[in-house]
Subunit: 471 residues, 2 copies
């Protein structure tokens, strides 16, 4: 429709000019890129600018792919598909983007992006509302971990014939952890991040991650030792519980004092930004320190930071301008109230806003990179596809059923669908299983495809089931 309108408005000439302009920008990039990348002596120095270009292209394509919203799909699906497209260009002889897949700096930015995303989700939530959805989240998480783990273990011989029983145990573990990133992003895109269902899913996915990591630790111990002792098991479980509980209690006490203190040191927006980011990154690090995924920590860090703690940091220029104008003009009554409201809304929004800006820069890198990891070539092997489809069906059904653990008052199907996507944690598990020799290349490829498939099918399904739920 958009293009039709453009053409109707006789802007063909302009489009032609844009084409030339794009060609001018990209032709030197295309011509010289390989030269820059292979130019021996200057390689290290030249690779940074090349990464700048990669990031610029990823950001631009990710935003253009947001056009998918016009057909009612969430933007994240567009980013994943852009990723799949970029990642498959080598099939057509275009290798310019290939190095992105293995570049450590891009992987770091992607990981930082998903940490910032979970931190953002955490800021938008709060401990109070988390406790409210606490029991349903916990029930959904437990059922959503036990069902796929046991189903894949017992159905394993039919799903992927000829593996050892420890392989089925491991295969089950890779399917336990819901990737909160995809669902959270989709719900944010849909404007449904504040529904009880959304909070239940996010809460369950976080608990889920913890439970999944405990299961993995247990399964790994069984694979290595043939058994696990009660002491190690207790330590693993205690660490996880202590981190989340302790983090929320200590952090909740610390956050208001910390922000009050630093707002006295310096009131600039830079200081506000530093305090907020500091919380997110330190909690991500602390989570990793106790053996949990950094995103679990980032979420906990965001959870304890609520806009309330940042009242000391308002946009001084804007507030001063407005207050001065109101005073000079002797504004009272209803108008004063209205303007005060606007001041309140638009000076306080900043707290999430600058985390958002960092997110705008980093988060698309994560989703495009995730899409790029999909290996379309593996789909040529019928055996792999069959295995993947069967595991996928079990992976979907078991998580959807977990939605029924939520009890009354919420949309069970919506919660079950929200739990479907697997992600980073599952991929990390799969890599570990492969490196421990439990899984071969075929099983590994099948798992990667299943994880990607759960990620690709969830956004449209979530959009469909959440459409009926009031924000």
């Amino acid at each position: 429709m958009y293009w039709v309108n453009l053409l109707r408005q006789r802007k063909i000439m302009n489009l032609f000019l844009y084409g030339i302009a794009f060609a001018l920008i990209f032709s030197p990039a295309g011509l010289f890129a390989n030269e820059a990348a292979t130019d021996g002596a200057a390689h290290v120095a030249a690779s940074f600018p090349l990464i700048f270009l990669w990031i610029a292209i990823i950001l631009m394509l990710a935003k253009v792919s947001a056009l998918i919203e016009r057909v009612g799909q969430p933007a994240v699906l567009g980013e994943l598909l852009i990723g799949v497209a970029l990642g498959s260009l080598y099939l057509f002889g275009i290798t310019f983007f290939e190095d992105i897949k293995t570049n450590e700096i891009i992987h770091f930015l992607a990981e930082l992006g998903v940490v910032i995303l979970l931190f953002q989700i955490g800021i938008e939530s709060s401990v109070k509302t988390m406790v409210k959805v606490g029991v349903p989240s916990f029930l959904v998480a437990c059922v959503g971990v036990i069902l796929p783990q046991s189903a894949i273990y017992f159905l394993g011989p039919w799903l992927a014939p000829g593996l050892s029983s420890t392989a089925y145990l491991f295969l089950g573990a890779t399917m336990t952890a819901t990737s909160v990133g995809i669902t959270a992003r989709v719900l944010q895109d849909l404007g449904k991040a504040h529904t009880a269902e959304a909070r239940t899913i996010v809460g369950a996915a976080v608990i889920d991650d913890v439970l999944g990591l405990i299961i993995l630790a247990v399964v790994s111990a069984i694979v290595i030792q043939g058994s696990i002792d009660a002491y190690t098991l207790t330590i693993i479980i205690l660490k996880a519980v202590a981190f989340l509980g302790g983090g929320i209690i200590i952090g909740g006490w610390l956050a208001p004092r910390f922000s009050t203190f630093f707002s006295k040191v310096h009131t600039g927006v830079g200081m506000k930004f530093a305090v907020v980011i500091f919380f997110g990154l330190v909690f991500a690090y602390l989570a990793a320190l106790v053996g949990l995924a950094p995103i679990v920590g980032a979420f906990a860090g965001g959870l304890i930071l609520t806009p309330v703690y940042f009242d000391e940091f308002t946009d001084p220029g804007f507030v001063t301008d407005m207050k001065t104008a109101m005073k000079e003009e002797h504004i009272n009554g209803r108008l004063a109230e209205k303007l005060d409201n606007i001041i309140h809304t638009h000076s306080h929004r900043h707290i999430e806003e600058f985390v958002q800006h960092l997110g705008h820069f980093l988060v698309p890198i994560f989703f495009v990179l995730t899409g790029m990891q999909v290996k379309l070539a593996v789909l040529m092997d019928g055996k792999v596809v069959m295995m993947a489809v069967l595991i996928l069906i079990v992976a979907i059904i078991t998580k959807v059923l977990a939605g029924w653990a939520v009890g009354k008052g919420m949309n069970k199907l919506a919660i079950g669908v929200g739990m479907i996507p697997r992600g980073e944690v599952g991929l990390i598990f799969a890599n570990m299983g492969k490196s421990m020799g439990v899984m071969d290349d075929v099983v590994f490829s099948a798992i990667v495809i299943v994880i990607m498939a759960t990620t690709l099918i969830t956004p449209p399904m979530l959009a469909a089931v959440f459409r009926r739920i009031q924000a």
Copy 2:
């Protein structure tokens, strides 16, 4: 004064509580950090969270160091000193921060930070005002390149006895390029970025970079071949001129069309952000492609982007709220004018604002890292110190004299002082000279110290000379 007031307010107890809180946060970091870093199997996975922690600490310390502003010094000096302190902790047996110095991801973020900084400076400038200061900038740049190059070449045997004549040629080249980053940041901190002097310095430093790179290319060719042909010389010079001129002309034509086009695709703040960042990063890449420093490209990219092109992207929530309130209350006349003014100021500021937020995250990393590269241990060698002091004096005098090339109507001393700091380009040159075998370790160390010294002495000198200049 601040601490005295705090104590007077009987907040000693609170400070004590903060101390405990900090200890709680940092003690696990200190205890487990080395374990995480040396934990063989999980090394690659564990290093990302460790980098998160490094970034968090760097950001926080950088912002706390902004307290230096209370004694009238620019914040960047605080960041550099924090860097020197962090980089010297190993002398006291604390090696936790040592790996930052060589970590490629941190170096990337620092490089991206300086690109974003120059991009920001570029956005705040415009081609029109650049042309206005064009001739003085060009004169200052030329004299500021010729003077240090020839002075160090001819005085070389007294400054650093016993080197070859090509070594003196190379040594001169490392002192030609002014590091625009330090000066630009200091002038921004001082609120003097819009003075004619500031624009002249920034303009001269950019031309200077280009001239310095041409000189380096020429000197390198002489070192390698013993001579240089007119063809190669012409190509090098043409590339630089074509890039800046062509970039500004094509980019200036392209920018308004590009932003209008993409504002039709998607009007969200994410799209605005992507378009702006795209320009900065693509220009940085294109500069590197033709053999110039990426920061030159980022500056050119920012120069062609002026807020005017982004009228299509205003903060819709704020503008709507204000317009609705004004309409509902039938506001006219002087008050309407005032409110329109506020709307205009605070909805358009966003264009620079989100680049700023990215800058808040990345720029301190660059300056702290720069500080960390200072090797205090080298100062133990009297021979190195002597050489460094002599080169430093020549490096300062020659750049200050270049200020007199500006002609009438501007503060010559202020411009000369602003040209003193050397930085990334000089360090890159020094590294090349060392790897080409022209310089030994002692000369290299001396150059690094001189570059650091020019950087450390400039902020207070700039603050002193600019205090009298009206913004």
